[in-house]
Structures are given as C-alpha cells and as structure tokens.
Amino acid sequence: MELAPFEQKNWGSSRLSSPVPPLCRTQQCCLGIDEAGRGPVLGPMVYGICFCPLSKKQDLEELKVADSKTLSEAERERLFEKLDSLKEYLGWALQILSPNVISTSMQQRVKYNLNALSHDTAIALIQYALDSGVQLREVFVDTVGPAEKYQEKLQERFPELEVTVKPKADALFPIVSAASICAKVARDYAVKHWKFLEDLEDVNLDYGSGYPNDPKTKEWLAKNLDPVFGYPQFVRFSWSTAQSILDSRAVPIRWDDSDGHEKASSKGSQSMLAFFGLKKDDMRRPAHRFFQERKLETARDL
C-alpha cells in the first residue's frame, strides 16, 4: 500500500483511494465501512470503505475476507493485495486521521468528540463514493456509539440508500470486512513508516501494543515526554493516559480558557460582600483609553 501523501504530511488528514471500477458506475453497489486504530493512544485512526456491485457480493464471500480479525499483519497485507487486484469490480477509499487531527478535534473549544469525528468521516467517505459516480444502493457499517441512533443519522443523511448499522458488522458482511482489511493495512503501514516531524534522537518504535493500558506503551510515553512540548505528534494528546502523564510530569501551562472552570468554582465559595468592597486597584484613576485599548500599563517594577 502506498501512503506517500500521508507520510509527507502526517500531521493532517489524508484521503487515498483506488480508481473507481467502471462496473460500479453502471450497476447498483453495496458499500462497507470500517475503522482501524480507534483504541490506541499512538498513531492514526483510519476509516476505510470498500464498494462493489451487488452482483459481486458472492465473489467477496468466496474470498473469505470475513475472518480478518484473526489474521496476522502479513496475512492482512496479502488479503489487501488480493482485494486491490479486483480492480474490475472492487473499489476502496481511506481517510487517515492523524493523531494530531484526533487530538486537536477533541480538544478544541467547541466540543467535537471522537464519535462525532468518526461519524463525519464515514459520511464524507460515503459522499465521496456517490460523488465519484458509484451507484450506491446499500451501505453496511459497524457501530460507533448506539447503533440505532447512528443508523438514523446516516439514513437521514442518505435517504436514497439502505443503511444497516450493526455491531460486529465485519463478521456479518464481507464488504465491511473488506473495508476493515483496507483500514487495518493502512494503519499498520502508517505506524511502521511513521516519520517523526520532531527532530528526536534515538526514538524507537518499540512501544508495545500502543493501547493505553499496556505498560510498555506507558513506558514509551513517559520516556518520550518533553516537559514543555509534551509528546511527539505520533501521540494522541487527548487520550486520558497521555494527559495524566502530562499532568504529573510536564510543566503546568495555562491558556486563555483555562480559568473558566477555576473561576466558576472559586466564585461559588466567595462571600457576596467581596463584590461590593472597593479594592485598592479600583481606587486608582483608570489609565487613559489609549493604554487600556492596547493593554499597556505603567510598569511599577520588574
């Protein structure tokens, strides 16, 4: 799998896709969506879609892609090569969400949690297939959050399609399993070939499973923590494992909106009288507007 566009800009989001088979533009198709790398604290999350004509569903079943979870990395890669060779009737597309995109989305001021990000990514991929001329009829998706609500959301967005959201969809629907293979292979590759943007010396990729409860992963995080800058962008800062190590070992940093919570809680414990007394600063004549507007003050001392 060739992920050069993502490798070069692995702090953003990248879309990769196969050419759309002509058959998919003329026959009614099914599309499966699955993800890879939701749980780890390291590396990107990948959303994959696969689509093929309804008439080719049986061919996919015969490929036995449904057992993808039991496969090794090498076996998955072989299966992907097989899928990719079915260019006449099978197409795929991937959306790679870098750890940086995941972190910044989840930590932005207007809440945008991982489920919302996942839903939007899936919707964008379906739309991509439609925009590319694929004659979509059926969509099969693994659950992200409550299945019914997700199905409702997708159905409302795409009323012309038949949407099925089910847990363990990759075991039930070969087209979803095919998408799962594509997503997993992409994630494996992206992690293996990760180029650290940061100029780090002797960083190794022996981070264990990458899951937050893996002691080896935690050790890797602690070892690669910079007290001012935190982690390399390989890490999902928004994961609570990453955050708790930062809280205990990094220098404290305050932002413009940091005090919002502190002020709210401290005001509750203040006496009402505190708001009515004149403080010493209030008794000083206020500075001229010129200085106030520019946040300039007289320096009393260094």
């Binding site: 932002w255 413009d256 004549r285 507007e293 520019r294 007289t298 260094l302």
Partner: protein, 217 residues
Amino acid sequence: PDQWVLIARDSLLELPKKPGDGTFFTRLRNPSTGEGALFLFSSCAQQLFEIKVFNEDYHSWFIGQTVQHDGRLFFATPMDALFLILYYLIKAEKEQGKFQPVDQVIVDEEFPSSHILLQCTQAVQSLHHVTEEKEIGSKKFYKYNKEKTLKWLKKKVVQTVKALKTNNVCVGSAVQSSTFIRSRQILDVTEEDYTRYAHGLISEYIPEDLSADLLKY
C-alpha cells in the same frame, strides 16, 4: 526571575565611556498618581525613558532554546523629564510658595534617585517654561508658575493632536481594533475629540488638579 523582554532604542545598549555611567532602571514618582513607577535613564542620565508594559494574561516567551515564564513585553519610550520635575515644583509651591534652587526642590526621601533628574540637561534648561526664574549671583532660583505651565502644556496637547492624526489613532467614540483599517474615514470625529483625547494622554503625566485646570484652559 532575572530576565525580561524590552523594546528600546539601540543607543541604550551602547557601552558607557566610564564605569557607572551606563543605562540603568530606577523607580521615580509618577507625577500623575504620586506612586512609584519604573523609569530608565540613558547613559549619563541624559535622557529619561518611561517604561510601559504590555501585560495580557496567559503569555510566555520562547527566547532561543529557553522558556521565560514572564510573558510581559516592556517598552522604553523617551519622555520629557520636565513632567517629573514639575511635580516637585508644584509641591514646593504648595508647601512653601517661595523661590528655591531646583536642587532643593527635587528632594524625595521615598525615591532618592529623583535627584538624577537634575542631570537631564534639556529638562533643566526648559524650567523657564513652567516657572518664574530669578538669578542671584550665579545661582538660579525657581518658583512654579501656573499660567506658564498651562501655556506649555497646551503646546504639548497641540503636538499630541498632530501625532494622533499622523498615526491614525482612533479617537472617536466607536471602539475599533488598532489593526482595523477602515475603507472610509470616520466623518464624525471632530477637532474637539482629538483635543480631549490628547488632553487625556497628557493628563497621564500631570497631577489631577492641573489636569482639570488644563481642560478648562
């Protein structure tokens, strides 16, 4: 902390000709509030600079390969030392009301560096703008004169108005960002707006009573 970020003229960094003659910070009495404030004297105390600080919450500096927690940005801007001397002249007038040598006027136990103001030759040479002078022998004696001071301050206000216009400072009632450039001139800004604004700025450097008198003037 032993490090701060300051914007100042290059000339303030020149090495002094003699040890002890270099640029230095000191606290002097702010003539408007009467409280201590930070000032800077150039080499040999020839020029006085006021120190203003850009102080917004939640800032720090990267300086080379270091972090400086203190995110303030200091500015050293030249100012007319006569404003500071004026404070003492007015005080002397209120307390004693007689002609005195200027080195006896600028005495401040709380801010002992204030005598250094006497080294600002340009300000000392301009004392006649705000005082009546008498010369006995070779010695000069000064007494605060309100009328002369108001005339001098008016010139300051006029100069400030010119500077406000040249620098496109927004003096109207509408609040706008200093980086916002309007495509059309605001037509409702009057000469009076400029004068009031300039008066307000000058008032940052004079006692409140004098500011009120200046406004009437």
